[in-house]
């Protein structure tokens, strides 16, 4: 194979965004993707927030194949047999430019791959990168099967498991504490049924998060997103919690039980499951970010641990796109200097620190610790549901005052603990 200035490992959002920017600058770039096509191995919940990335991919992003713009946001706290919902119906979210869209990755990533090709970048699919060409600690290229391909810079955009980052010595094998597994089904339904069931105008979408009894107190929760003609329904649970939970339970079982909940059942009724998928998600936030660069190598997207769960918003895709674009900028400036050393590529980290990517991750750096609290995933949703149920219920006995009802439930919770958790919520959010 030819020599390339840059080799991008992984044709997902980070890799393709970088390749697109590099190709537009006339820098020779090769993307190596192991799937049959870009997006073949990629999964999102999912929803993409567009505002942070509009200026980063200005000419193309408005033409991307997106599903529905989200106008209805719903958070449900669940106990075993009841749930309390908070819903935001926003007219602002229904105005252009729309701030977030539901997305399906197979479609989106193939479109982005087409943009890379059109800009002059080269993509080879069905090729797995097996190893790196190393010169001491310096990365000099990739090894894929029989092929050894040298390059000035390798961009590891090979996803959450990033074996490339491990081989480069930038990252260690993942710990179950820092990662969650998500299982998801895509359930086909007509656009009319989706719009009726979720009370949406044509083109509008809904996003829903579920927390509480469905994960049995384990870190995680459920999610639902409406696509044009399908629903993405899934459940996330931290791997460590799953390993330790007694009696043993599987994520697919939690997911099946979630699907049987009356809150969900009616929404997916009559729909046909057309895909079952599973994916790992980084949950460690800022503390989980490895060293982002070395001699001749950069990490971007999930490979760099760039995801942020604040409990209310879960983000990753726009971080992947932004880190890809910023990696391309750092590589472009290293190319001008003809210096691909670690010191030269360090500019990448500066660019990330000055962008929303590391700024948002810094702002919410306490969120993973705050969310790492079994009371949030169990006791508090239970309390909320029980209190509401008591308040709304009329029995044959004379009814107590509201304060008495709430206090009866509050007594089941340690008050000092509640204060502490409230304080932590305030500090981390």
């Amino acid at each position: 194979m030819d020599n390339f200035d840059v080799i991008v490992v992984g044709g997902g959002l980070a890799g393709l965004s970088a390749a697109y920017c590099l190709a537009k600058e006339g820098i020779g770039v090769l993307v190596v993707e192991r799937g049959d096509y870009s997006g073949a191995k990629n999964i999102t919940g999912g929803r993409l927030y567009l505002n942070p990335i509009r200026s980063l991919l200005p000419d193309i992003i408005e033409k991307a194949p997106l599903e529905r713009f989200v106008t209805k946001e719903r958070i449900l706290m669940m106990s075993d047999k009841s749930s309390v919902a908070i819903e935001l119906s926003s007219q602002k979210f229904g105005q252009k430019p729309y701030h977030s869209y539901t997305v399906l990755r197979a479609k989106f990533d193939q479109w982005l791959a087409d943009q890379v090709n059109a800009a002059g970048g080269m993509i080879v699919t069905k090729n797995r990168v097996d190893d790196l060409i190393m010169d001491g600690t310096k990365v000099r290229g990739i090894i894929a099967g029989e092929d050894k391909i040298p390059a000035n810079v390798v961009l590891a955009a090979d996803g959450v498991m990033s074996l490339v980052a491990e081989k480069a010595g930038l990252k260690q094998r993942q710990k179950p504490q820092d990662y969650a597994v998500a299982v998801k089904e895509v359930i086909e339904l007509s656009p009319q049924i989706i719009e009726q069931r979720f009370n949406l105008a044509p083109g509008e979408g809904a996003a829903q998060m579920y927390a509480g009894a469905i994960t049995k107190g384990m870190f995680g929760g459920g999610f639902l997103y409406t696509n044009l003609s399908s629903i993405s329904l899934g459940l996330v649970v931290r791997i460590k919690d799953l390993m330790e939970y007694k009696p043993q339970i599987e994520a697919p079982q939690l997911f099946e039980d979630f699907k049987q909940r009356p809150e969900i059942k009616g929404l997916i009724e009559g729909g046909e499951t057309i895909e079952y998928s599973a994916h790992v998600i980084p949950e460690a936030g800022m503390e989980g970010i490895p060293k982002l660069y070395g001699d001749g190598i950069l990490l971007a997207g999930d490979a760099a641990g760039l995801t942020l769960n604040t409990g209310i918003t879960v983000r990753g895709m726009e971080f992947a796109i932004a880190s890809g674009v910023l990696a391309a900028r750092a590589i472009s400036s290293a190319t001008k200097k003809k210096d691909f050393s670690s010191q030269s590529l360090a500019e990448y980290e500066t660019l990330l620190k000055n962008s929303f990517v590391l700024k948002d991750m810094e702002t919410f750096k306490k969120a993973p610790h705050f969310l790492d609290n079994p009371r949030l995933m169990g006791q508090y949703p239970q309390f909320l549901c029980d209190t509401m149920e008591q308040m709304m219920f009329i029995g044959d006995e004379p009814k107590k005052r509201l304060v008495g009802t709430a206090m009866g439930e509050v007594r089941k919770i340690k008050f000092t603990q509640l204060l502490k958790d409230g304080y932590n919520a305030f500090r981390s959010m």
Binding site: A40, M243, Q253, S277
Partner: protein, 90 residues
């Protein structure tokens, strides 16, 4: 609700790779007490055979990596290029 992972996996396009991309460490695996692989894998790749040893059904692997994170003893790689799961929605 009964779990029927096989029926779920039948919805996906998975191109079987003749080369095994995940291998257990037979010595360690035999004496492992936890065997978390049996219940953390969302695709039921890991099962116990009659002899009580862990067996892998890699043709149903979704390549998520959960097992690699849960068990440090696995020799783990992705399937070769062009093999494995090819998602159509994602």
């Amino acid at each position: 609700m009964e779990l029927n992972i096989k029926a779920k996996l039948a919805k996906d396009t998975i191109k079987a790779d003749s080369e095994k991309h995940i291998k257990v460490n037979p010595e360690k695996c035999k004496v492992c007490k936890e065997r978390v692989c049996l219940y953390v894998c969302p695709a039921h790749v890991y099962t116990l055979n009659k002899e009580g040893n862990v067996e892998l059904e890699l043709d149903g692997c979704l390549e998520c990596g959960t097992c690699r994170i849960a068990c440090v003893e696995l020799e783990w790689h992705y399937p070769r290029g062009g093999y494995g799961v090819q998602y159509k929605c994602g």
